[in-house]
Amino acid sequence: MARLTSLEDLERYRQEVLARRDPKKPCVTICSGTGCRAYKSEKVAHAFQAELEAKGLAGKVDVRRTGCHGFCERGPIVVMLPEETCYLKVKVEDVPELVAETLVGGKVVERLLYRTDAGEGVVHENDIPFYKHQTRLLFHDNLRIDPTNLDDYLAVGGYGALAKALGSMTPEQVVAEVKKSNLRGRGGAGFPAGVKWETTRNSPGDERYVLVNADEGDPGAYMDRSILEGNPHSVLEGFIIGGYAIGARTGYVYVRQEYPLAVENLIGALDDLHEAGLLGENILGTGFSFEILIYRGAGAFVSGESSALMSSIEGKVGEPRPKYIRTSVKGLFDKPSNLNNVETWANVPLIISRGAEWFAGIGTEGSKGTKVFSLVGKVNNTGLVEVPMGMSLRRIVFDIGGGIREGRAFKAVQTGGPSGGVIPESMLDLPVDFDELTKVGSMMGSGGMIVMDDNTCMPDVAKYFLEFLADESCGKCVPCREGVWQMLQILTRMVKGEGREGDVELLEDLSTTVQDASLCALGQSAPNPVLSSIHYFRDEYRAHVEEKRCPALVCKALTSYWVDPDKCIACGLCKKNCPVGAISGEKKQVHVVDQALCTKCDTCFQVCPPKTRAVTKLSGQPVPKPPEDLAVRAAKGKKG
């Protein structure tokens, strides 16, 4: 395309793009985020292209690979435009049928639709319960955008906010608008973005930097990756606006190397922007020049910490340094620097184009706008969900998430990633925003939300998160390096049944020092999962230490497998499947688990027929001796 040299040029070009497009022309969109790619969405896309060619429809139907739709669990997701018929879990084999039935015949293929509990098929994406309750400001354009195609982004009004900012607002006005919107940083701490922008803008010095933090590393959280992959221009547009507002000429995108598709799409987007004159010298003829560099991190969790991230860009080891002078005053290369995460930047174009008041109208008193959560764990519908701040946990988990898997009971939800905390069932009605989560001992963090059912052991979960953190701690300061490690030792002891009296108190004691004395936020927040789970589930910790019992029957060392002689029907399944031959029993004889041989692999428990449920887990009590008379007593169940 020709370089756009003025604001009018951009608008003219946009109209050209729109004029070239027929909104009624059929289009097959295939989600091509990392999640759907794992389900072979690329092959599905190829199959569509081949099938369309074979049927002579090549020019008549568009095929578009789009970004993430969020409902990753049911991928690949195929949406047929203009009707917006949404098909889930589409396989290559389904393609000929979809082309013949829907594209040619205009009929809906029922079997690939979302099914409600009542068994009805749902045709449109927005009517699926998973989507119905969401407010998708950042994700809703993904359907219409091929991330490698700048025209697609322009067609939905992209770079209109940049044009507005450059054309009709001073940098100060942009900062004021962001301030007025009360946008809080989505990286976790929730610091007001506008205030940070202003501090950076007003800090002395002739050079300043803006940075995108795309070093998302929480286990189970991938919202930043999805935004970058699916709609990189939304982030870049916000970023360029930020550069203009803050007075920067250079911006860095710090993205982890583990996000290859995000990096690829980013690089492509930057090339397109340069070509279009939306990046580089004299953007759109407004006199504003801005350059964006991509810095690929090695994927260390701590490198998402602002000072560590800046050290890494400077070419040093990604280790935090004490920030007694804020990075907005003295950051990258000791220059004023403004770091915001991907989601924060992606919100900026919305604020500029629709206005601060519109944005501030969404959300709660203290937290405005929407938040993308990564809803994972024991919930029926997993994926990325975007909801207005303040939606209750109950609605997120039950209305959007569709409740707990296998009809089990909800136990807790862990929010904020490894440094967040657990929230028990009694607090399900908590409105989710920055302040409410902090009040109950958890945090927003990046927006990870891990749902846990009653099969979850809290000390075990705390141990899991600490293992991650002990591994990811940079090891520079003593409280974090040694303290988190020692906490992990105590928890490991506990779940092994070797807990000692005073262990819970020792954990709490250590936590206070690790929280208060650690150098950076990794250490300072590391005790959160431990402290919050002790706070809400102290009994479970006590049971582990005092009774050597795991109430959730999870900790292997504290759990034994036992065949209930009153229920066993001698079907032999457990014996047949036991990988170590620990189960004995003949026909018409009660089966017996040899405790010395049992490796607690759980296989027998899983294969024991649900009707019988003879294999039982025990914890904190001796395993009853096998009956003298091994004859099967449950004669009723014997013949089925």
Binding site: P322, C477, P479, G483, A517
Partner: protein, 234 residues
């Protein structure tokens, strides 16, 4: 290694602050620790040396500062003095943190100054031992990089796996020069004495095949020097 050395070369403008209720005069550019030491107020340190850049890793020199209405826990070796700053060096909270930090250090290294342990009521047996002797204070690394202008020593790994290592090629090139006529400066600054003369020897006579880097944290009782006193008054 990030922050520049805080040697107050050009005396800055005078700054008045209070430390433990005492009015103290310092100069701009000084740290709270420097101001305190100048005023004769002792704050324990481990990873700090006046000549080297601030590092802030041992956290022993934590103090509470009150600037405006906010009270914060900060490391005094890096916190710059400010006009009107109120510093408390020995609050209950700080003493608790020091006690725990000493206990955590003692799990790594069994020669932490007994007087200091006693002062803060630290129980060196409270935590699981994983003795490595090296406490990763980074003094040797900074000494080699900043004073000698070499980078023979460095860190590898992270978390508890972190280690100080020697880069053999650099050691072969530079260590002999350093060792001429004196004890090697990295050995000198090491508070635990785990950089042994074995290391020095290895540096001086490079064997045929060496890994890219190898840890210096080799326990060698004969070479452990009586340096326990250094914690607290380096």
């Amino acid at each position: 290694m990030s922050a520049p050395a805080q040697t107050a070369e050009a005396p800055g403008a005078p700054v008045k602050l209070t430390i433990d209720g005492r009015s103290v005069e310092a100069r701009e550019g000084m740290t709270v620790l420097q101001a305190a030491r100048e005023a004769g107020i002792e704050i324990p340190t481990l990873c700090y040396l006046e000549e080297l850049s601030g590092y802030g890793s041992c956290r022993l020199c934590l103090v509470e500062v009150k600037a405006g209405r906010r009270t914060r826990t900060v490391v005094s070796c890096l916190y710059p003095v400010e006009e009107g700053l109120e510093v408390q060096t020995e609050t209950e909270k700080i003493a608790h943190h020091r006690k725990l930090i000493l206990e955590l250090l003692a799990a790594r290294w069994d020669r932490v100054d007994p007087a200091l342990l006693k002062k803060y009521g630290a129980d060196p047996e409270r935590f699981a031992k994983h003795t490595t002797y090296c406490i990763l204070c980074g003094l040797c690394v900074r000494q080699c990089a900043e004073i000698e202008g070499k980078n023979v020593l460095g860190f590898i790994g992270r978390g508890t796996e972190r280690q100080v290592v020697v880069y053999p090629e650099l050691a072969a090139k530079f260590c002999a020069q350093c060792a001429k006529g004196r004890e090697m400066p990295c050995l000198e600054v090491c508070p635990t004495g785990v950089i042994t003369s074995e290391f020095a020897a290895a540096g001086l006579t490079l064997p045929d095949k060496l890994p890219v880097a190898y840890p210096v944290c080799i326990k060698d009782d004969d070479n452990l020097r009586d340096v326990a006193k250094k914690v607290g008054d380096v």
